[in-house]
Amino acid sequence: MDLNSIGFFVFGAVAVLASLGVIGQRNPMHSVMLLIVSFGALAGLYILLDAPFSAVTQIIIYAGAIMVLFLFVVMLLNAHTEADSVPAILGPRGMQIGALLSILLAGEIVWGLSRLGLTWFGNDPATIANISSVSRIGLAIFTTHAFAFEVTSILILVSMVGAVVIARRGH
């Protein structure tokens, strides 16, 4: 087993276990912390996929900015525990159907993918250098995807104004 495989299984296991912890925790503060762990594991997977730019933006934007926003709201609202502490399996019928549907979804995805043959990653050093180059990504964002980039900036402006207006006290 080479280093790449060991890394994949370690990071994958950490990501899945941390995500399960996120939806299993009663305390939202612990959920946020576990989600940061999951994002760190995903950043490791991006490194293994020769995408260091995505790994670093994952850490900076997700773990650094979005999760801090969540932490602020959790601390601001001071709502530490969920109101009803009914175990999920014993919950109302709708929740049971929801759990069943998500297990079905996982089974369906795994079944569908296992019917495909295994597709291996190419190992051409020129291609790998091409996709892990930040300058190539910047070139693609600012030339090929320039329109999407500009629309994104409008989206951010709108969401910024929207967040301020929605959370404002006393209309």
Partner: protein, 100 residues
């Protein structure tokens, strides 16, 4: 050796965990966190397929998805704060005014 399928199965499992969180949790903040898990599962698919096809487009889309996730988190959390001010609770069962 690790193939593309390994990454696709992993991201499928993460996506299913996210949907389970949305279905099972009765806390608005945890539901938003589950949506973030789903967005990240999709990001992993984009990066893995980009690596397989040998293009940077997967990483470019990942960048845009992260931006949309940031916008979604900002607006979603503002809504959570506004709702919490009205009812002093985070349970989605308390907000059923629009429910038929």
């Amino acid at each position: 050796m690790i193939s593309l399928n390994h990454y696709l199965v992993l991201s499928g499992v993460l996506f299913a965990i996210g949907t389970a969180g949305v279905f099972l949790r009765r806390n608005l903040i945890t539901i938003l966190l589950s949506i973030e898990i789903m967005l990240n599962a999709v990001n992993l698919t984009f990066v893995a397929v980009g690596r397989y096809l040998g293009t940077v487009d997967g990483q470019v889309i990942t960048f845009f998805v992260m931006t949309v996730a940031a916008a979604e988190a900002a607006v979603g959390l503002a809504l959570v704060i506004a709702l919490f001010r009205h009812r002093e609770t985070l349970s989605p069962d308390a907000f059923t005014l629009l429910k038929w």
